[in-house]
Symmetry: C2
Protein backbone atom coordinates (compact mmCIF):
# COMPACT_ATOMS: atom_id res chain seq x y z
CA UNK A 1 0.00 0.00 0.00
CA UNK A 2 1.37 3.42 -0.99
CA UNK A 3 0.40 6.50 0.98
CA UNK A 4 0.43 10.11 -0.21
CA UNK A 5 0.55 12.69 2.60
CA UNK A 6 -0.53 16.07 1.29
CA UNK A 7 0.70 18.58 3.85
CA UNK A 8 -0.35 22.21 3.94
CA UNK A 9 1.25 24.67 6.36
CA UNK A 10 2.17 28.24 5.43
CA UNK A 11 5.21 28.34 7.74
CA UNK A 12 6.25 24.75 8.28
CA UNK A 13 9.85 25.37 9.33
CA UNK A 14 8.63 27.00 12.56
CA UNK A 15 6.14 24.23 13.37
CA UNK A 16 7.52 21.74 15.90
CA UNK A 17 4.61 19.37 15.41
CA UNK A 18 5.01 19.28 11.62
CA UNK A 19 8.77 18.76 11.91
CA UNK A 20 8.17 15.92 14.37
CA UNK A 21 5.71 14.23 12.00
CA UNK A 22 8.03 14.69 9.05
CA UNK A 23 10.91 13.02 10.90
CA UNK A 24 8.60 10.17 11.93
CA UNK A 25 8.35 9.20 8.26
CA UNK A 26 12.05 9.29 7.38
CA UNK A 27 13.28 6.60 5.00
CA UNK A 28 9.94 4.96 4.22
CA UNK A 29 9.69 4.43 0.51
CA UNK A 30 5.98 3.45 0.60
CA UNK A 31 5.10 6.93 1.88
CA UNK A 32 5.28 10.15 -0.16
CA UNK A 33 5.54 13.32 1.88
CA UNK A 34 4.25 16.25 -0.21
CA UNK A 35 4.31 19.71 1.36
CA UNK A 36 2.35 21.96 -1.00
CA UNK A 37 3.84 25.32 0.03
CA UNK A 38 7.35 23.93 -0.56
CA UNK A 39 6.53 22.31 -3.91
CA UNK A 40 4.62 25.36 -5.16
CA UNK A 41 6.20 28.43 -3.54
CA UNK A 42 4.53 30.79 -6.03
CA UNK A 43 1.10 29.30 -5.28
CA UNK A 44 0.40 27.89 -8.74
CA UNK A 45 -0.45 24.20 -8.62
CA UNK A 46 0.37 21.81 -11.47
CA UNK A 47 -2.94 19.93 -11.60
CA UNK A 48 -1.73 17.24 -14.02
CA UNK A 49 1.28 16.43 -11.87
CA UNK A 50 -0.91 16.22 -8.77
CA UNK A 51 -3.42 13.98 -10.51
CA UNK A 52 -0.60 11.65 -11.57
CA UNK A 53 0.61 11.56 -7.96
CA UNK A 54 -2.87 10.59 -6.78
CA UNK A 55 -3.06 7.75 -9.28
CA UNK A 56 0.21 6.33 -7.95
CA UNK A 57 -1.07 5.99 -4.36
CA UNK A 58 -3.69 3.96 -2.51
CA UNK A 59 -4.17 6.10 0.57
CA UNK A 60 -4.55 9.90 0.50
CA UNK A 61 -3.92 11.88 3.67
CA UNK A 62 -4.58 15.58 4.27
CA UNK A 63 -2.29 16.91 7.01
CA UNK A 64 -2.67 20.48 8.24
CA UNK A 65 -2.96 22.81 11.23
CA UNK A 66 -6.59 23.54 12.17
CA UNK A 67 -6.99 27.24 11.33
CA UNK A 68 -10.55 28.54 11.62
CA UNK A 69 -11.86 24.98 11.71
CA UNK A 70 -10.42 24.09 8.31
CA UNK A 71 -7.18 23.83 6.34
CA UNK A 72 -4.84 26.63 5.25
CA UNK A 73 -5.79 28.18 1.88
CA UNK A 74 -3.17 26.26 -0.11
CA UNK A 75 -4.85 22.90 0.52
CA UNK A 76 -8.22 24.37 -0.47
CA UNK A 77 -6.63 25.62 -3.67
CA UNK A 78 -5.27 22.12 -4.24
CA UNK A 79 -8.78 20.69 -3.85
CA UNK A 80 -10.33 23.24 -6.22
CA UNK A 81 -7.56 22.88 -8.83
CA UNK A 82 -6.85 19.15 -8.78
CA UNK A 83 -10.13 17.46 -7.84
CA UNK A 84 -12.06 18.54 -10.90
CA UNK A 85 -14.98 17.04 -12.76
CA UNK A 86 -14.21 13.98 -14.91
CA UNK A 87 -11.24 13.25 -12.66
CA UNK A 88 -12.59 13.20 -9.10
CA UNK A 89 -16.34 13.06 -9.76
CA UNK A 90 -18.88 13.11 -12.56
CA UNK A 91 -18.55 11.22 -15.84
CA UNK A 92 -15.48 8.96 -15.71
CA UNK A 93 -14.42 10.86 -12.59
CA UNK A 94 -13.30 7.81 -10.66
CA UNK A 95 -9.60 8.46 -10.03
CA UNK A 96 -10.06 8.48 -6.24
CA UNK A 97 -12.64 5.72 -6.00
CA UNK A 98 -11.85 3.03 -3.37
CA UNK A 99 -8.69 4.74 -2.16
CA UNK A 100 -8.67 5.33 1.59
CA UNK A 101 -8.70 8.89 2.89
CA UNK A 102 -7.48 10.21 6.22
CA UNK A 103 -7.07 13.58 7.91
CA UNK A 104 -4.23 14.46 10.30
CA UNK A 105 -5.21 17.69 11.94
CA UNK A 106 -2.98 19.54 14.43
CA UNK A 107 -5.01 21.48 16.97
CA UNK A 108 -3.81 24.11 19.44
CA UNK A 109 -6.82 23.85 21.73
CA UNK A 110 -7.51 21.03 24.22
CA UNK A 111 -9.64 18.07 23.17
CA UNK A 112 -12.44 18.74 25.69
CA UNK A 113 -13.15 22.14 24.10
CA UNK A 114 -14.54 20.44 21.00
CA UNK A 115 -17.98 19.31 22.12
CA UNK A 116 -21.46 20.62 22.76
CA UNK A 117 -21.14 23.04 25.66
CA UNK A 118 -17.34 23.14 25.33
CA UNK A 119 -15.46 26.30 24.46
CA UNK A 120 -15.53 25.57 20.74
CA UNK A 121 -19.12 24.19 20.84
CA UNK A 122 -18.69 21.70 17.99
CA UNK A 123 -16.93 18.36 17.68
CA UNK A 124 -14.01 17.71 15.36
CA UNK A 125 -16.27 15.28 13.48
CA UNK A 126 -18.85 18.03 12.90
CA UNK A 127 -16.23 20.55 11.80
CA UNK A 128 -14.64 18.10 9.36
CA UNK A 129 -17.97 17.39 7.61
CA UNK A 130 -16.86 19.14 4.38
CA UNK A 131 -14.05 16.55 4.06
CA UNK A 132 -16.47 13.73 4.80
CA UNK A 133 -18.69 15.05 1.99
CA UNK A 134 -15.65 15.17 -0.29
CA UNK A 135 -14.77 11.55 0.52
CA UNK A 136 -18.37 10.60 -0.20
CA UNK A 137 -18.50 12.43 -3.54
CA UNK A 138 -15.20 11.01 -4.75
CA UNK A 139 -15.94 7.47 -3.52
CA UNK A 140 -13.05 7.27 -1.05
CA UNK A 141 -13.17 5.13 2.11
CA UNK A 142 -12.97 7.49 5.06
CA UNK A 143 -10.61 6.67 7.92
CA UNK A 144 -11.25 8.00 11.40
CA UNK A 145 -9.60 11.44 11.63
CA UNK A 146 -6.25 11.63 13.42
CA UNK A 147 -6.37 14.77 15.57
CA UNK A 148 -3.26 15.87 17.49
CA UNK A 149 -4.18 18.16 20.37
CA UNK A 150 -1.76 20.62 21.97
CA UNK A 151 1.47 19.06 20.74
CA UNK A 152 3.45 21.77 22.56
CA UNK A 153 2.34 20.40 25.94
CA UNK A 154 2.95 16.71 25.19
CA UNK A 155 5.34 14.70 27.33
CA UNK A 156 8.06 12.64 25.64
CA UNK A 157 6.06 9.53 26.44
CA UNK A 158 2.95 10.94 24.76
CA UNK A 159 5.04 11.89 21.72
CA UNK A 160 6.40 8.35 21.48
CA UNK A 161 2.82 6.97 21.50
CA UNK A 162 1.84 9.57 18.92
CA UNK A 163 4.72 8.55 16.67
CA UNK A 164 3.67 4.90 16.69
CA UNK A 165 -0.02 5.65 16.13
CA UNK A 166 0.92 8.05 13.30
CA UNK A 167 3.14 5.52 11.53
CA UNK A 168 0.38 2.91 11.82
CA UNK A 169 -2.19 5.40 10.46
CA UNK A 170 -0.03 5.81 7.37
CA UNK A 171 0.79 2.16 6.72
CA UNK A 172 -1.83 -0.30 8.05
CA UNK A 173 -4.62 -1.19 5.66
CA UNK A 174 -6.93 -1.55 8.70
CA UNK A 175 -5.79 1.02 11.27
CA UNK A 176 -7.93 -0.49 14.07
CA UNK A 177 -6.99 -4.13 13.53
CA UNK A 178 -5.24 -5.66 16.56
CA UNK A 179 -3.55 -8.34 14.46
CA UNK A 180 -2.18 -5.70 12.04
CA UNK A 181 -0.92 -3.59 14.92
CA UNK A 182 0.71 -6.64 16.51
CA UNK A 183 2.40 -7.61 13.25
CA UNK A 184 3.59 -4.01 12.87
CA UNK A 185 5.30 -4.27 16.28
CA UNK A 186 6.90 -7.60 15.47
CA UNK A 187 8.23 -6.21 12.18
CA UNK A 188 9.65 -3.14 13.88
CA UNK A 189 11.24 -5.13 16.72
CA UNK A 190 13.15 -7.19 14.20
CA UNK A 191 14.61 -4.10 12.55
CA UNK A 192 18.13 -3.31 13.66
CA UNK A 193 17.43 0.37 13.97
CA UNK A 194 14.35 -0.11 16.13
CA UNK A 195 14.22 2.04 19.24
CA UNK A 196 11.18 1.53 21.42
CA UNK A 197 10.20 2.60 24.85
CA UNK A 198 9.57 -0.52 26.90
CA UNK A 199 6.30 1.05 27.89
CA UNK A 200 4.99 0.94 24.33
CA UNK A 201 5.72 -2.76 24.09
CA UNK A 202 4.02 -3.24 27.43
CA UNK A 203 0.89 -1.47 26.09
CA UNK A 204 0.87 -3.75 23.07
CA UNK A 205 1.13 -6.88 25.24
CA UNK A 206 -1.64 -5.59 27.50
CA UNK A 207 -3.88 -5.07 24.46
CA UNK A 208 -3.22 -8.65 23.42
CA UNK A 209 -3.95 -9.94 26.93
CA UNK A 210 -7.24 -8.05 26.94
CA UNK A 211 -8.19 -9.56 23.60
CA UNK A 212 -7.43 -13.07 24.91
CA UNK A 213 -9.50 -12.45 28.04
CA UNK A 214 -12.43 -11.28 25.94
CA UNK A 215 -12.20 -14.36 23.75
CA UNK A 216 -12.09 -16.63 26.85
CA UNK A 217 -15.14 -14.91 28.31
CA UNK A 218 -17.01 -15.41 25.05
CA UNK A 219 -16.07 -19.11 24.96
CA UNK A 220 -17.15 -19.57 28.61
CA UNK A 221 -20.53 -18.05 27.84
CA UNK A 222 -20.99 -20.29 24.82
CA UNK A 223 -19.95 -23.43 26.72
CA UNK B 1 -26.80 49.70 9.83
CA UNK B 2 -23.75 49.28 7.59
CA UNK B 3 -23.06 46.01 5.82
CA UNK B 4 -19.73 44.70 4.55
CA UNK B 5 -19.99 42.02 1.86
CA UNK B 6 -16.74 40.13 1.58
CA UNK B 7 -16.88 38.37 -1.76
CA UNK B 8 -14.47 35.67 -2.86
CA UNK B 9 -14.54 34.25 -6.38
CA UNK B 10 -11.41 33.44 -8.41
CA UNK B 11 -13.01 34.31 -11.75
CA UNK B 12 -15.86 36.69 -10.97
CA UNK B 13 -16.22 38.30 -14.39
CA UNK B 14 -17.44 35.01 -15.82
CA UNK B 15 -19.95 34.35 -13.03
CA UNK B 16 -23.48 35.37 -13.98
CA UNK B 17 -24.76 34.89 -10.46
CA UNK B 18 -22.06 37.07 -8.92
CA UNK B 19 -22.61 39.79 -11.53
CA UNK B 20 -26.35 39.68 -10.83
CA UNK B 21 -25.78 40.07 -7.09
CA UNK B 22 -23.31 42.87 -7.63
CA UNK B 23 -25.80 44.82 -9.75
CA UNK B 24 -28.50 44.25 -7.13
CA UNK B 25 -26.49 46.41 -4.75
CA UNK B 26 -25.77 49.34 -7.07
CA UNK B 27 -25.84 52.80 -5.50
CA UNK B 28 -26.44 51.75 -1.89
CA UNK B 29 -24.12 53.71 0.33
CA UNK B 30 -24.86 51.65 3.47
CA UNK B 31 -23.41 48.55 1.76
CA UNK B 32 -19.74 47.98 0.99
CA UNK B 33 -19.03 45.46 -1.74
CA UNK B 34 -15.53 44.06 -1.28
CA UNK B 35 -14.29 41.47 -3.77
CA UNK B 36 -11.03 40.10 -2.37
CA UNK B 37 -9.48 38.82 -5.60
CA UNK B 38 -9.99 42.27 -7.19
CA UNK B 39 -8.65 44.22 -4.21
CA UNK B 40 -5.65 41.92 -3.75
CA UNK B 41 -4.75 40.55 -7.20
CA UNK B 42 -1.32 39.40 -5.98
CA UNK B 43 -2.89 37.47 -3.10
CA UNK B 44 -1.34 39.46 -0.24
CA UNK B 45 -3.96 40.78 2.14
CA UNK B 46 -3.51 44.02 4.08
CA UNK B 47 -4.71 42.81 7.48
CA UNK B 48 -4.79 46.29 9.08
CA UNK B 49 -6.91 47.71 6.29
CA UNK B 50 -9.32 44.78 6.52
CA UNK B 51 -9.58 45.10 10.29
CA UNK B 52 -10.41 48.81 9.90
CA UNK B 53 -13.09 47.89 7.37
CA UNK B 54 -14.62 45.43 9.82
CA UNK B 55 -14.74 48.06 12.56
CA UNK B 56 -16.69 50.40 10.25
CA UNK B 57 -19.53 47.92 9.66
CA UNK B 58 -22.27 46.28 11.71
CA UNK B 59 -23.04 43.29 9.53
CA UNK B 60 -20.39 41.04 7.96
CA UNK B 61 -21.34 38.84 5.00
CA UNK B 62 -19.24 36.12 3.37
CA UNK B 63 -20.33 35.63 -0.24
CA UNK B 64 -18.79 32.87 -2.33
CA UNK B 65 -19.38 29.93 -4.68
CA UNK B 66 -19.56 26.59 -2.86
CA UNK B 67 -16.42 24.77 -4.01
CA UNK B 68 -15.76 21.48 -2.20
CA UNK B 69 -18.28 22.44 0.48
CA UNK B 70 -16.42 25.59 1.47
CA UNK B 71 -15.14 28.94 0.16
CA UNK B 72 -12.41 29.59 -2.42
CA UNK B 73 -8.90 29.77 -0.90
CA UNK B 74 -8.76 33.58 -0.90
CA UNK B 75 -11.53 33.91 1.70
CA UNK B 76 -9.80 31.31 3.86
CA UNK B 77 -6.61 33.33 3.60
CA UNK B 78 -8.58 36.40 4.63
CA UNK B 79 -9.87 34.56 7.72
CA UNK B 80 -6.40 33.31 8.68
CA UNK B 81 -4.74 36.69 8.08
CA UNK B 82 -7.32 39.15 9.40
CA UNK B 83 -9.17 37.32 12.18
CA UNK B 84 -6.20 36.95 14.48
CA UNK B 85 -5.88 36.67 18.24
CA UNK B 86 -6.40 39.90 20.22
CA UNK B 87 -8.55 41.21 17.35
CA UNK B 88 -11.17 38.54 16.69
CA UNK B 89 -10.81 36.36 19.80
CA UNK B 90 -8.75 35.98 22.96
CA UNK B 91 -7.63 38.86 25.20
CA UNK B 92 -9.26 42.09 24.01
CA UNK B 93 -10.23 40.28 20.83
CA UNK B 94 -13.73 41.70 20.63
CA UNK B 95 -13.73 43.57 17.29
CA UNK B 96 -16.48 41.38 15.85
CA UNK B 97 -18.55 40.95 19.00
CA UNK B 98 -22.30 41.62 18.52
CA UNK B 99 -22.01 42.25 14.79
CA UNK B 100 -24.34 40.11 12.72
CA UNK B 101 -22.85 37.56 10.36
CA UNK B 102 -24.37 36.05 7.23
CA UNK B 103 -23.30 33.68 4.46
CA UNK B 104 -24.42 33.97 0.83
CA UNK B 105 -23.41 30.77 -0.85
CA UNK B 106 -23.95 30.08 -4.55
CA UNK B 107 -24.47 26.39 -5.23
CA UNK B 108 -24.48 24.60 -8.58
CA UNK B 109 -26.32 21.52 -7.36
CA UNK B 110 -30.07 21.29 -6.62
CA UNK B 111 -31.34 21.93 -3.10
CA UNK B 112 -32.73 18.42 -2.59
CA UNK B 113 -29.26 16.89 -3.02
CA UNK B 114 -28.18 18.39 0.31
CA UNK B 115 -29.76 16.08 2.86
CA UNK B 116 -29.33 12.69 4.44
CA UNK B 117 -29.76 10.17 1.63
CA UNK B 118 -29.47 12.89 -1.02
CA UNK B 119 -26.68 12.94 -3.57
CA UNK B 120 -24.45 15.13 -1.40
CA UNK B 121 -25.49 13.33 1.86
CA UNK B 122 -25.11 16.39 4.13
CA UNK B 123 -27.18 19.51 4.65
CA UNK B 124 -25.93 23.02 3.95
CA UNK B 125 -26.22 23.69 7.70
CA UNK B 126 -23.93 20.76 8.47
CA UNK B 127 -21.40 21.75 5.83
CA UNK B 128 -21.28 25.36 7.04
CA UNK B 129 -20.51 24.33 10.64
CA UNK B 130 -16.94 25.76 10.47
CA UNK B 131 -18.49 29.22 9.88
CA UNK B 132 -20.96 28.70 12.70
CA UNK B 133 -18.02 27.86 14.98
CA UNK B 134 -16.26 31.04 13.78
CA UNK B 135 -19.33 33.17 14.57
CA UNK B 136 -19.47 31.55 18.01
CA UNK B 137 -15.78 32.15 18.76
CA UNK B 138 -15.86 35.77 17.63
CA UNK B 139 -19.18 36.54 19.34
CA UNK B 140 -21.11 37.39 16.19
CA UNK B 141 -24.86 36.88 15.84
CA UNK B 142 -25.42 34.29 13.15
CA UNK B 143 -28.04 34.92 10.48
CA UNK B 144 -29.66 32.05 8.64
CA UNK B 145 -27.48 31.25 5.62
CA UNK B 146 -28.63 32.55 2.25
CA UNK B 147 -28.07 29.72 -0.25
CA UNK B 148 -28.70 30.31 -3.96
CA UNK B 149 -29.23 27.04 -5.80
CA UNK B 150 -28.71 26.59 -9.54
CA UNK B 151 -28.86 30.25 -10.55
CA UNK B 152 -28.33 29.27 -14.19
CA UNK B 153 -31.73 27.56 -14.29
CA UNK B 154 -33.70 30.31 -12.53
CA UNK B 155 -36.65 31.96 -14.27
CA UNK B 156 -36.81 35.76 -14.42
CA UNK B 157 -39.53 35.65 -11.78
CA UNK B 158 -37.34 33.60 -9.45
CA UNK B 159 -34.49 36.03 -10.01
CA UNK B 160 -36.73 38.97 -9.12
CA UNK B 161 -37.68 37.26 -5.84
CA UNK B 162 -34.03 36.47 -5.20
CA UNK B 163 -33.08 40.09 -5.73
CA UNK B 164 -35.58 41.31 -3.14
CA UNK B 165 -34.67 38.67 -0.57
CA UNK B 166 -30.98 39.42 -1.13
CA UNK B 167 -31.41 43.17 -0.64
CA UNK B 168 -33.41 42.52 2.53
CA UNK B 169 -30.73 40.12 3.79
CA UNK B 170 -28.20 42.92 3.46
CA UNK B 171 -30.20 45.73 5.01
CA UNK B 172 -32.85 44.58 7.51
CA UNK B 173 -31.73 44.34 11.12
CA UNK B 174 -34.20 41.43 11.53
CA UNK B 175 -34.32 39.59 8.23
CA UNK B 176 -37.40 37.54 9.21
CA UNK B 177 -39.48 40.39 10.59
CA UNK B 178 -42.73 40.92 8.66
CA UNK B 179 -43.01 44.54 9.76
CA UNK B 180 -39.47 45.26 8.59
CA UNK B 181 -40.08 43.59 5.26
CA UNK B 182 -43.32 45.55 4.85
CA UNK B 183 -41.60 48.82 5.65
CA UNK B 184 -38.86 47.90 3.17
CA UNK B 185 -41.52 47.57 0.43
CA UNK B 186 -43.18 50.84 1.33
CA UNK B 187 -39.82 52.61 1.24
CA UNK B 188 -38.93 51.13 -2.12
CA UNK B 189 -42.34 51.89 -3.64
CA UNK B 190 -41.91 55.56 -2.81
CA UNK B 191 -38.56 55.71 -4.61
CA UNK B 192 -38.77 57.20 -8.09
CA UNK B 193 -36.48 54.59 -9.56
CA UNK B 194 -38.43 51.67 -8.14
CA UNK B 195 -39.20 48.93 -10.61
CA UNK B 196 -41.19 46.04 -9.20
CA UNK B 197 -42.96 43.12 -10.66
CA UNK B 198 -46.61 43.31 -9.63
CA UNK B 199 -46.28 39.74 -8.50
CA UNK B 200 -43.78 40.63 -5.80
CA UNK B 201 -46.12 43.22 -4.38
CA UNK B 202 -48.90 40.66 -4.48
CA UNK B 203 -46.74 38.23 -2.45
CA UNK B 204 -46.11 40.92 0.12
CA UNK B 205 -49.82 41.69 0.46
CA UNK B 206 -50.61 37.99 0.75
CA UNK B 207 -48.07 37.65 3.56
CA UNK B 208 -49.74 40.54 5.35
CA UNK B 209 -53.18 38.99 4.88
CA UNK B 210 -51.93 35.72 6.32
CA UNK B 211 -50.53 37.50 9.33
CA UNK B 212 -53.87 39.25 9.91
CA UNK B 213 -55.74 35.96 9.65
CA UNK B 214 -53.43 34.35 12.19
CA UNK B 215 -53.95 37.23 14.59
CA UNK B 216 -57.76 37.00 14.18
CA UNK B 217 -57.66 33.25 14.84
CA UNK B 218 -55.63 33.85 17.97
CA UNK B 219 -58.09 36.52 19.18
CA UNK B 220 -61.08 34.21 18.49
CA UNK B 221 -59.48 31.46 20.57
CA UNK B 222 -58.80 33.83 23.45
CA UNK B 223 -62.30 35.31 23.32
Amino acid sequence: MKTLIIVSHPDIETSNSQQFLKEALAMRKDITYHHLETVYPDGYIDARREQELIRQHDRIIFQFPFYWYSSPPMLKQWQDTVLIEHFAYGDQGDALRDKSFGIVVVIGVAKHAYQMGGKEQFSIDQLLTPYQAMAHKTGMKLLKPFPIYQFAYMTDRAKQSLLIAYQQYMTLSDVDSLSQRTQWFIDRLSEESAVFELEEIQHMIEDLQLEIEELRLYLDQKG
